[in-house]
């Protein structure tokens, strides 16, 4: 047994060393890298089919490159890609079903390393300093095995697991604190937990609406949009928008949507305005005002609104094919009137849009 452990330790040491070397050996390229500027679309693929991929799209030059991870690194990305975290010169791709994180140079997409242990049903990642934090559901049916894993960005080694409440999903950093929205895994949860990024200890839990799906820092506020419990829950509940003071970490105010069947998503701030979606419609919210009732417009070309971003007066939507097989679309709309500006074919089941 001891020999086995020793061997493992030895092999890990070698592996870590080589990763470290990689970091030092590959400075940022001087010339413009292949993916210097443009959009990454993450295609989750089909569950169990190991056909996740990343598309790169450059609108100005009308470039649309499919499967860039596999093309550059010669190996498939994996099964059910969940999210990408972009930070300085790296991109960390969380591959949910494969239980791994592929870390690449965000400008060349060349692999820097793979984290494939100490993860269990990983969802999203966030970076604070030299630490990579990853939310994990564990066994989706077990409410008590959820955790946030901490890895070192220097050598991709595992540092520790921070046990948290059920279903940690999106993470956001502010002032050295990590805010974790708990959707609830296979069940429903309604908290944001706060982790101290220095001690890596759970500092606080803040109650919000059920199934928090978006967390946004705006000034000294943390805005949390919760979709509410769906129709198949024991009791359907309305979506809720919560404002948390980042100094006190207390809820300042919260607004509930008027009808239990309203389940909003995709809270985005753009040029001082706030947007969210309900089904395929886009709503605008004025801070300090009432929750919107009438949509700005409806995005008719979308089959399923699976990824949604707003950048520079444009809405970007990742829309899978309606039966979730085959290639999906990146649809680009004018934020002012909701008119369709452009569309690009993506890989299978696009779920996220990331700007490089």
């Amino acid at each position: 047994m001891n020999y086995k452990h020793l061997f493992l330790l030895f092999s890990i040491a070698i592996f870590l060393n080589s990763c470290e070397d990689d970091q030092y050996c590959c400075p940022m390229p001087e010339t413009e890298a292949e993916f210097q500027s443009g959009i990454f679309v993450l295609n989750e693929g089909n569950f169990g089919s190991s056909n996740a991929s990343v598309s790169f799209i450059n609108e100005e030059e009308q470039v649309n490159s499919a499967s860039i991870f596999a093309n550059i690194n010669g190996a498939p990305l994996g099964d059910t890609a969940q999210s990408i975290e972009l930070h300085e010169n790296i991109a960390a791709v969380v591959v949910n079903v494969s239980n791994k994180i592929e870390i690449v140079n965000r400008f060349t997409f060349e692999s820097l390393g793979t984290i494939s242990s100490n993860l269990s049903n990983p969802r999203f990642a966030e970076i604070i300093g030299n630490n990579l934090y990853v939310s994990n559901w564990g066994d989706g049916m077990d409410p008590n095995d959820d955790f946030v894993a901490v890895f070192s960005l220097l050598d991709f080694s595992f540092k520790q697991a921070i046990p948290v409440a059920e279903g940690p999903e999106k993470l956001i950093e502010h002032a050295g604190l990590l805010y974790v929205a708990h959707k609830g895994g296979f069940s429903f949860n309604n908290i944001v937990s706060v982790i101290n990024g220095t001690s890596n200890e759970l500092a606080n839990e803040i109650e919000v609406g059920h199934i928090p799906n978006s967390i946004v820092v705006n000034g000294n506020d943390l805005w949390v949009l919760s979709s509410g419990k769906p129709a198949y829950a024991d009791e359907e509940t309305a979506g809720e928008l919560t404002r948390i003071d980042l100094t006190t970490n207390g809820v300042v105010e919260s607004f509930k949507f008027p009808d239990n069947t309203i389940h909003p998503n995709n809270l985005r701030f753009s040029n001082g305005a706030v947007y969210l979606t309900i089904n395929k419609s886009v709503y605008k919210y004025d801070i300090g005002g009432d929750l919107p009732i009438i949509p700005e417009f409806t995005l008719e070309e979308v089959s399923v609104l699976y990824g949604f971003e707003i950048v520079e007066n444009k809405i970007y939507v990742a829309s899978p094919r309606v039966d979730f097989t085959g290639n999906g679309d990146l649809l680009i709309y004018d934020l002012n009137d909701g008119s369709l500006l452009d569309r690009y074919t993506t890989g299978i089941n696009p779920n996220g849009i990331y700007f490089n």
Partner: protein
Amino acid sequence: MNRNIFLLFIIIGCSCLDTVAQNDSINWLDEVRLSDVRLKTNSEGQLVKVLDDSIIQQSEPLLTSILKFNSPFFFRENGYGMVSSASVRGTGASQTAVVWNGININSQFTGQTDFNTINTKVFDNISLRPGGGSVVYGSGAIGGTIHLNNEFTFSGNSVNQLNLGYGSFDTYQATYNGKFSNETTSLNIGLTGISSENDFEYRGTDIYNENGDFYNASFSASLAQWVGDSNIFKFYSNYYQGDRGFSGTITQPSNSKYEDRNSRNLLEWKAFTGNFTSSLKFAWLGEAFKYYENRDSGNYSFGEANTGIIKYDLGYEFSSEKKLNFIADYTSVKGKGAGIENETREIGGVSVLWNHSIEDLKYKLSLRQEITEEYNSPLLFSAGASYQFSENYLLRINSSRNFRIPTFNDLYWPNGGNLDLDPETSIQAEIGNEFSFNELNLNLTAYFIDIDNLIRWVPDEAGLWRPVNTAEANNYGLELFADWTSNLLGKPLNLSGTYAFTRSIDKETDKQLIYTPKHKGTISAGYDIEGFSLFWQSLYNGSIYTSSDNAYEIEAYLLSNFRVGYTISSKPEIGLSVQVNNLFNEKYQSLPSRIMPGRSLQSTLTFNF
């Protein structure tokens, strides 16, 4: 309208012709021997291909394995021994009915049968009946029906067979079948089991098939007892128990486990009175599963359904050429689990079947109407005829309307079940040609199926997956079954083959439906000489699309198995055989990222006494 009057006229006219009472001993024999006499009497215009006992005992035990090498049907397998579903004539997994001794055993939850949860060794024959069959076999009989049958003999003999097997990947098998009878009692017992570590290497990688271990065991008993000379009681029972780790994929490890427990029981009282044949059947079926996402934890989800069926079938023989059957039945299904609270579904049904032969012309007409509260049931029909033009050529035609009813998951699944579903319905027609010569038998069938109201799970506006009646499809194609017996150096050489050309077109997009190959073929050859038996089988699966935009596909593959058997002793009969599966070590998969085993060995010792 005119046609209906014409049919009515025929029926009335026929019944007046002659009323000579005549006990047809041949028919009686079938009624007694067979568990599912309808398969023989109500398949006019359709081919019924029988895979007999010897094919079953020489094949691998799971239903997928035997059918993929002996039929033109396509199978999607999540791995060897893992979840498997059939595509017959380009239809979906829930559009093929598996029928055990005349009773439809497709799952109440999924509407389909997992073909790797049927251990075939305890059945006397497996019959393939491509084409519609809902009038007699109920929901899901659109693409075809697959029949698992036990048969009785009253020969007075007792026969015992024991098989022991060992093969690659720590695979152990054992089967015992015993048949005992006298003139009034017949008893068959079958017991079989297989267990395998199933830890083969994925060809072309250094990854092994982890967590794919499985075992299953099946017990079967059938008992027939004459009471007097015109009443017979028949009882059939089958129990299946299987545990499987669900294997991962190339990039996805798995630690899940699935347990199946299925029981099937059927009691029949058959009485022969003058020209009447009366059959009263009680059937009760139980299906239960447990799914562990993490096999090391105690957390699981489960499903459990119990089905009770009462069926009365009264037949009247106007003459040996004309027979009318009236059937009334009632089915009650109780299901719970996997988020479904106790739900009960009750279905009542009435059917009328008419069979008539006029010299070389045989035809049948049948109608069925079901009544249930959950959905609107269409009037089902089947009309078929065959005409023997010459001793070498038989023409068959058949047309039918069939359906697939919404499953418990479709209706009651907590995260999206839809109570507003209609059954999937099909109208279909086929023309079959049978060419028979001394050594050669060819069956060539062309068919067309128009399927409406296809139930698909698609996300709604809010992204919630729900089943809806959304798509329509046209399937058409050709199906060939061929058998040829010849001589080589004075010893018999048997060749058989199947081929299917299948188009399965989504009416809206004009694209081929996913997971339906355009081409599938099989061929096998057996030759016996000097106590040795040599056997070869191959199958070809054409490429299949994995996405509805037909942008992604899985490549075609060709598989071959080779077996050598030797008879060690003839009394008692002891035989030893060694089979090489996937002889050419082909890397293949029927579902994305699920690599199937490369070359492997299987040895079997057989005792007949």
